[in-house]
């Protein structure tokens, strides 16, 4: 029984860990922190796997756990206040700009300037998660979400182009 759960969990991990990592990376802008949040998400998935009742797709459920884990990571002792975190991401990626592609650094810096929910939504859009699934994950109606995504895309592009001009 335990072996079966482990096999099922391994499959889930292989199919979803990259997507959850990307979500956490978009939210935090930091690979180490994103790895920690991804791990925390899968620990919760493991603990709750028996309680999953097929109300939604398994991947949607995992995504939602990932979103909640990101949103609640402000409770951790290591947490930085949002403004400080944004500064950290901006600083971090500015320092890396020499080694990395400058455009990528500008993109991360632009994402860091969005609000928490915008970061989460846009990361899923960037990863091409279907709108219906994003709506289900974020608890926002699909119609409302389309409007919101349009605004966030516009905002992100604007911030990115502003950063690039500087």
């Amino acid at each position: 029984m335990k072996d079966q759960k482990r096999i099922a969990f391994k499959k889930l991990f292989e199919e979803n860990s990259k997507k959850v990592f990307n979500l956490c990376y978009g939210y935090t802008g930091d690979a180490d922190m994103a790895n920690d949040l991804m791990q925390e998400t899968f620990i919760k998935v493991w603990q709750n796997l028996d309680k999953f009742r097929n109300q939604s797709q398994l991947s949607t459920w995992i995504y939602r756990i990932g979103v909640n884990t990101c949103l609640s990571h402000l409770r951790s002792a290591k947490r930085k206040p949002t403004e400080e975190l944004n500064d950290y991401i901006i600083e971090n990626h500015t320092e890396e700009a020499g080694e990395q592609n400058e455009q990528v650094a500008a993109l991360y810096r632009a994402i860091a300037q969005l609000k928490e929910n915008e970061r989460i939504i846009i990361t899923m859009v960037l990863d091409e998660v279907p709108y219906a699934e994003i709506a289900e994950i974020s608890g926002i109606s699909e119609g409302n979400l389309r409007v919101r995504i349009h605004r966030i895309k516009h905002k992100l592009t604007e911030i990115y182009n502003r950063i690039e001009r500087v």
């Binding site: 482990r6 391994k10 991990f13 292989e14 860990s17 990259k18 990592f21 990307n22 990376y25 690979a31 994103a34 790895n35 991804m38 791990q39 899968f42 620990i43 919760k44 493991w46 603990q47 709750n48 309680k51 999953f52 459920w61 939602r64 756990i65 979103v67 909640n68 884990t69 949103l71 609640s72 402000l74 409770r75 206040p81 949002t82 990395q100 592609n101 455009q103 990528v104 993109l107 632009a110 609000k115 928490e116 929910n117 915008e118 859009v125 960037l126 990863d127 091409e128 974020s138 608890g139 926002i140 895309k153 992100l156 592009t157 990115y160 182009n161 690039e164």
Partner: protein, 198 residues
């Protein structure tokens, strides 16, 4: 000038890979469970040892007045209460896991309520605990009054009263202020994030 689609391509090509393997996550699950279980076990052992010492004193020291027996009973009750509080904290720690699948807005509301309840419960528990301990000392002091000389008794009472006053007005106040500040800042943050999902 770049369009959103170009940013999307940039993102897809450049997000780093996760460095956490399945085996590492499984190890973290195992070690987290063991760590928590060990911590809980040590708490239970510490309280059980405390209770054993208390019962040993109760059985071996010939207390004369019934008030001393009542004081010991109260102390034992305080220890059982503290042990129960530890157990509840352990159960509460599982809260996240139980509520994780909720929609973000509901999750944040629940988290906010949980934080406020936990704060209330902790501060109230502290006062109940303090009152019970004070009562136990008052009851025991009746026997001390007959057993000790008046000077020693008064000295001891002054020390105990002084200790309780410091505990209540300095330690408890500092604890409540600190908790209040911490919980309030978390609630403000949670409110701010929840508003983003409205």
């Amino acid at each position: 000038m770049k369009e959103f689609e170009e940013l999307q391509q940039l993102w897809r090509k450049n997000v780093p890979d996760s460095k956490r393997s399945f085996e590492e996550v499984m190890r973290a699950i195992e070690s987290g469970r063991k760590e928590l279980a060990t911590k809980m076990l040590w708490h239970v052992v510490a309280f059980a040892a405390g209770l054993l010492v208390l019962f040993y004193i109760w059985l071996t020291v010939p207390f004369v007045t019934w008030t001393s027996h009542l004081a010991l009973l109260l102390l034992a009750a305080c220890m059982v209460y503290a042990l129960r509080a530890q157990w509840r904290s352990y159960k509460e720690m599982q809260f996240d896991a139980l509520e994780s699948g909720q929609k973000p807005e509901a999750f944040i509301s629940r988290l906010k309520k949980f934080k406020a309840d936990r704060y209330r419960q902790h501060t109230r528990s502290f006062v109940i605990y303090e009152v019970c301990l004070a009562l136990a000392f008052v009851l025991y002091s009746i026997e001390l009054y007959f057993a000790l000389s008046l000077g020693v008794f008064i000295g001891m009472m002054i020390f105990i009263i002084f200790w309780f006053l410091i505990s209540h007005f300095v330690f408890l106040k500092a604890y409540i202020d600190h908790e209040n500040e911490k919980v309030q800042s978390l609630i403000d943050e949670l409110d701010r994030i929840r508003n983003q999902f409205d």
